[in-house]
Amino acid sequence: MTRRAADEHIAPESHVIPISLYVVIWAALMVGTGLTVFAASVDLGIFNIVVALLIATIKGTLVVLFFMHLRYSTKLTMVTVVAAICFLLIMFSLSMTDYLTRGWSTLH
């Protein structure tokens, strides 16, 4: 059994993220929340949803990269996250091929 030598007690996660970085991310998330609420009060028409989702995605990315340590994780973990997003988008987009085209006239 390949076991690490006992006196080598290597902490599995060797990187320690500085507290300041966590606080900066937190601040960014709070600002983002404020921005989201503010942007909703401005009438941007069709772009309201785009802005809202954009801000949410930026916030989400910060949470995933830094709070969840994806930035410091293996490539495999990143592939997992990307895969989840991809299949979610597949479910959304292919379903919408139905809903968006139902009103279209039929082929002749």
């Binding site: 929340t33 909703a40 809202a52 973990t77």
Partner: protein, 226 residues
């Protein structure tokens, strides 16, 4: 002492702690992938109905209390900070600090659930729970444009936030478990995987809310509620 804890925690089918830690973390990411798809079904339903019945969704969304929703968003973000710092405390061997930070995390979580409870109560009183007792009144008392589909909006609201709240409750339970383990000295810089893994779960629950808030509360510029 650290080493003994780590060695005791090493499961027999792993070659070493590093393999165990990487495997456990990967396992939790995989589980979160399934959670993304689980919530994803509801998001898909939301997407379909919102795109087809936008006006009805706008009217429903206007009955949401944006300030409570925004507060809850802030509460969760703060809880993520304390959670991340708590994991860091475990990683650097600061047991007491970890316990304190995780306790604060739980308080934030309970705060979120409390605010949610207040909102639910109000929606319930307003007959905004779908079913035979559903009766929708717009925010400015004008006739609703499409009450049938506003009921669908509320179905999705209750389903999505309800599922999210359930995950919060489970999260609070998991963090409690970690605190108990921490108090008993189970975690050291050489072995704090359970803390890290529960942290991942907690952040995920925060992440879901980051999307729920704008999608459910902020659909249109004409926001009211209070």
């Amino acid at each position: 002492m650290d080493l003994q804890v780590a060695e005791h925690a090493l499961q027999h089918h792993f070659a070493d702690m590093e393999q165990q830690q990487e495997t456990s973390t990967f396992g939790m990411w995989m589980f979160l992938l399934t959670e993304i798809m689980f919530f994803g079904g509801l998001f898909c339903a939301y997407l379909v109905y919102r795109s087809s019945y936008y006006e009805a969704f706008v009217e429903g969304s206007q009955k949401m209390n944006i300030w409570l929703g925004a507060t809850n968003t802030a509460v969760l973000i703060c809880s993520s900070l304390t959670m991340a710092l708590g994991v860091r405390a475990a990683q650097t061997g600061k047991k007491k600090l970890m316990v304190v930070l995780l306790l604060i995390t739980i308080l934030f979580g309970l705060g979120f659930l409390g605010i949610k409870g207040v909102e639910y109560h109000e929606h319930w009183e307003n007959h905004e729970f779908p079913g035979p007792n559903f009766h929708f009144q717009t925010i400015d008392k004008t006739p609703p444009v499409d009450p049938q589909h506003t009921e669908i909006y509320f179905s999705l609201y209750w389903a999505m936030t309800g599922l999210h709240a359930l995950h919060m409750i489970i999260g609070v339970g998991l963090v409690t478990w970690i605190i108990l383990g921490g108090l008993a000295g189970a975690y050291t810089p050489a072995y704090f995987t359970p803390v890290e893994v529960v942290g991942l779960y907690w952040h995920f629950v925060d992440l879901v809310w980051i999307y729920l808030f704008p999608l459910l509360y902020l659909i249109s510029k004409k926001h009211g509620g209070g």
